[in-house]
C-alpha cells in the first residue's frame, strides 16, 4: 500500500502536526493557541457539512464514542452526539439517570467497563472539578471534557470563539465582557483561558460574592458592576445564573440579581453599537438576560449552537481521525 500513500502526498493535502491526535482535551488552560487555531480552522471547513442534504461523512466510520453524563444536559450531549454521527462514528451514552451510577459504582469502574467494550473515545460531563483529569488517568483512550464542575468546559469556549470569529473575524484586541456568576462557571473559566490566549481583552463582572479570588491573576479585569465591564465591549457574554449551585446566600433573590446584574437594553447600551450578545444556554429569561435582548438581532445565541456541532466535529476528527 505504499504507493497509495505516495499518491496522496503527491496530490497533496497539506499536513498538520499531530498534537491533538490520540490525546485528551481536558482544558483550555493546558491547550496551546496553535491547537486552538487548528480546531477552529478545521471546524471552519467542516461547518459546510451541516448545510448538506446528507449530513454525513465517513471519516470516523468504525469508531465508537462514549458519552458519559453525570449531570443533566440536553444541548451539549445532543451536540456531541450529532457531531459524532455526522462524522459516522457510533455513539453510546450513559447518563446518571440510566446507568449504574445510582447504584454506587465508582467512576473508575464504570469507565473501565466501557473501555472493555471497545470504546475509542470518552466524552464526560461531571459535577466535580477535575473529574475528566481523573478519568484520563483511569482510561487509555482519549478523554474529552464536556464540563467538569466549576472548572472548565473547553469545547463550549472553542465554539464561542468560533462564533465570535464569524462576526468579528478576529479575537486579538477584541473587548469581551463576561457577566454573571463567574465563581461557579466553567464556561467563564474556559473562555477566560481561551480568549486571553488568543489576545482578547477580557473583563468580568458580577456580584462580588460570585467572583472567584484572584481572578485578575488570570489576565482579566474584574468589576463589581456590569456597566463598567461592558463599557466599549465588542462582545457581551452573559452567563447562566446556575441556580442549582447557589447553595449559600451569595445573592438575596433572582429579582435583585435581575435588577442589578441582568443584561437588558440599558446595560447593553454601554457596549459598542455593533456588539454581539452571547449566552451558553439554557437561558433564565428575565433573570440574567431579558427576552428582548436574547431575541434581538445582536444576539448570536443560536449561532453558538450551530458552531458547537462544527467545533465538536473538528475535535473528534482531530483526536480520532486516522488514529489507530
Amino acid at each position: 500500500m505504499t504507493g497509495t500513500a505516495k499518491d496522496n502526498i503527491s496530490e497533496a493535502g497539506r499536513v498538520i502536526d499531530l498534537s491533538l491526535r490520540g490525546n485528551d482535551l481536558l482544558s483550555l488552560q493546558e491547550m496551546s493557541p496553535e491547537d486552538m487555531e487548528l480546531v477552529l480552522s478545521t471546524a471552519r471547513s467542516l461547518k459546510e457539512i451541516l448545510a448538506r442534504p446528507i449530513k454525513k461523512v465517513p471519516t470516523l466510520r468504525g469508531k465508537v464514542v462514549c458519552i458519559l453524563f453525570y449531570e443533566p444536559s440536553t444541548r451539549t450531549k445532543a451536540s456531541f452526539e450529532l457531531a459524532a454521527r455526522y462524522m459516522s462514528a457510533d455513539t453510546v451514552s450513559f447518563s446518571s439517570a440510566t446507568s449504574s451510577v445510582k447504584k454506587g459504582e465508582t467512576l473508575a469502574d464504570t469507565a473501565r467497563n466501557l473501555s472493555m467494550m471497545g470504546v475509542d473515545l470518552a466524552i464526560m460531563r461531571h459535577s466535580v472539578s477535575g473529574s475528566c483529569h481523573f478519568l484520563a488517568k483511569v482510561l487509555d483512550i482519549p478523554v474529552v471534557n464536556a464540563g467538569d464542575g466549576m472548572n472548565e468546559h473547553p469545547t463550549q469556549a472553542l465554539l464561542d470563539i468560533f462564533t465570535i470569529l464569524d462576526y468579528k473575524s478576529r479575537i486579538r484586541g477584541l473587548k469581551v465582557a463576561i457577566i454573571g456568576d463567574i465563581l461557579h462557571s466553567r464556561v467563564a473559566r474556559s473562555n477566560i483561558f481561551g480568549l486571553t490566549k488568543m489576545g482578547a481583552e477580557v473583563s468580568v463582572a458580577g456580584p462580588s460574592t460570585l467572583l472567584p479570588p484572584e481572578i485578575e491573576s488570570l489576565g482579566v479585569k474584574a468589576y463589581a458592576r456590569p456597566e463598567e465591564a461592558i463599557e466599549g465591549a465588542d462582545v457581551v457574554y452573559v452567563l447562566r445564573l446556575q441556580l442549582e449551585r447557589q447553595a449559600k446566600s451569595l445573592f438575596p433573590s433572582k429579582r435583585e440579581y435581575r435588577d442589578f446584574f441582568g443584561i437588558d437594553r440599558y446595560r447593553l447600551s454601554y457596549a459598542k453599537e455593533d456588539a454581539i450578545v452571547m449566552h451558553p444556554g439554557p437561558m433564565n429569561r428575565g433573570v440574567e438576560i431579558t427576552t428582548d435582548i436574547a431575541d434581538s438581532p445582536r444576539s448570536v445565541i443560536l449561532d453558538q449552537v450551530t458552531s458547537g456541532v462544527a467545533v465538536r466535529m473538528a475535535i473528534l476528527y482531530l483526536i480520532l481521525g486516522g488514529w489507530d
Binding site: 488552560q29 465508582t106 467512576l107 473508575a108 461531571h126 466535580v128 472539578s129 477535575g130 473529574s131 483529569h133 481523573f134 484520563a136 488517568k137 467538569d148 464542575g149 466549576m150 472548572n151 472548565e152 466553567r186 473559566r189 472567584p212 479570588p213 484572584e214 481572578i215 491573576s217 488570570l218 447553595a247
Partner: protein
Amino acid sequence: MAGDLLIKGGRVIDPSSGADRILDILVVDGRIASLSESIEPENGATTVLDAAEKIVMPGFIDMHVHLREPGFEDKEDIETGTRAAAMGGFTAVACMPNTEPACDTDAVVAGILERARKKAWVRVYPIGAVTKGRAGKELAEMGEMRAAGAVAFSDDGSPVATAEILRCALEYLKSFDAVLIDHPEDMSLSEGGQINYGLTSTVSGLRGIPRESEEIAVARDLLIAKLTGGRLHLAHISTKGALDLIRQAKAKGLNVTCEVTPHHLILTDETVLETAYDTNTKVNPPLRTQEDVDALREGLADGTVDVIATDHAPHHIDDKWVEYDYADFGISGLETAVSLIIDKLVLPGVISWMRMAELMSLNPARILGVPGGTLEPGAPGDITVIDPDCEYSILPHNFESKGKNSPFIGWRVTGAPYGTIVGGKPVMYGRRLVL
C-alpha cells in the same frame, strides 16, 4: 526483655543535654545506662549495633497519628500503623480519637492499649475525645480516660465545636494535668471546601477553604486559653496568619504550643494542579501557598513551632481513587516524615539536626508529658538512628502502612530512618523491621 544493647560509634545528638558528638550508648533493662566515648560489651548477651556514620537521637514521638482502630481497619490498624511508625523512625505515636466508636470512654482507651500491648511495634499513647462522640455537646469522661492511660484530649477530625465547650474543657482538664489538642477550623468557612482558597482554587474550579477558617479558630482558641489558663496545643498549623497569632500569644506568655506537618512545610496548593488533581494532595487543613510554607519554616527556626507531627491519615485506595470532591482528606505520613524533614529542611540548612530532635522528640514528649525525648541515663531506651546519606525513592508498595496515600510518591530523597529502638529493643534496624 533481651540482654543489653550497645550502640557504637554514632553521632549522638540530644537536645535535652545539648550533646552533639560521637558516643557509644549502653542500654540496660530497657533504659539508657550510660553514654561514653568508648564502651565495650561486657558479655556475649549484649547486642551491639554499629552506628558509624549514623546519627543517634532520642526516639521520635509522633503526637498526631490516626491509627484508625477501632472501626476503620480497612484504612489502618494498630499493628500496621505502628509497623509504619517503626519503619518511619518513630518510637511512639499518639493516636487520635476519631475512631468508630470514638475514643471517648475509658473502655475504648483501655481497649486500644490492650490491642497495642499485643500488636504494636512502638509505644502507643491514646488521645481521648474532649466531648462525647466528638459531637461537641457534652464533655466526655476525661478524668476516667486519663486514669486509663489517655495522654491528651482532642476532638480531632473536627474542632472543639464551640468556644463555650472549649472553655469548659480547658478549665476541667486543669484537674488532670493533660493538654487539649485542638484542630483549628471554622467549619462555616470551610464547608464544601477542597483546597486552599485563592488563585489555585480559582484556576482549578475546586472549592476553596480560606486561611481565615483556620485563623479565626486559632484566635478563638488562644483567647479561650488566655481566659482559662488551660494547656492548649494547636494541631497542624498551616497558615502564616495563624502562626503570627501564636507567635504573639507566646510573646505575651500564654501557655500554648503548636505543631506543623511535613506536607505543609514542603508542598503548596499548586501541587494540586501539577499533579492533575491527584487526590493524594487533598488534606485538611489544605496545602497552602509558598508564603505560608516560608512562614512555617521561619516558625520552625524561631521557635514558634514546637513540634513536627505527621497527621498520619491513612486511607484505603477506594477512598482516594475517586473524583476529587468525593475523596477523603488525609496523607499517609509516618514513613516519609523523617526523610522529608532531612532532605527538605535539615540538609538545606533550614533547621539543624539538634532542632529536628527537639521538634520530633523532646518537645512532643514534654507537651504530652510522656517519658522519652532524651538520652539522659535513666530515660527509656527509646532511640532513633538516622542514616543521613541514604538516598532512595519513596514508593508506596514499600509502605508498611495500609495507607498508600502520599503526594510524595516517586520523590527521590536523601536521609532516612535507619533504626528504631523501643525500650532497648530494636524494632527496626538497617531499614528493615526486626522480628
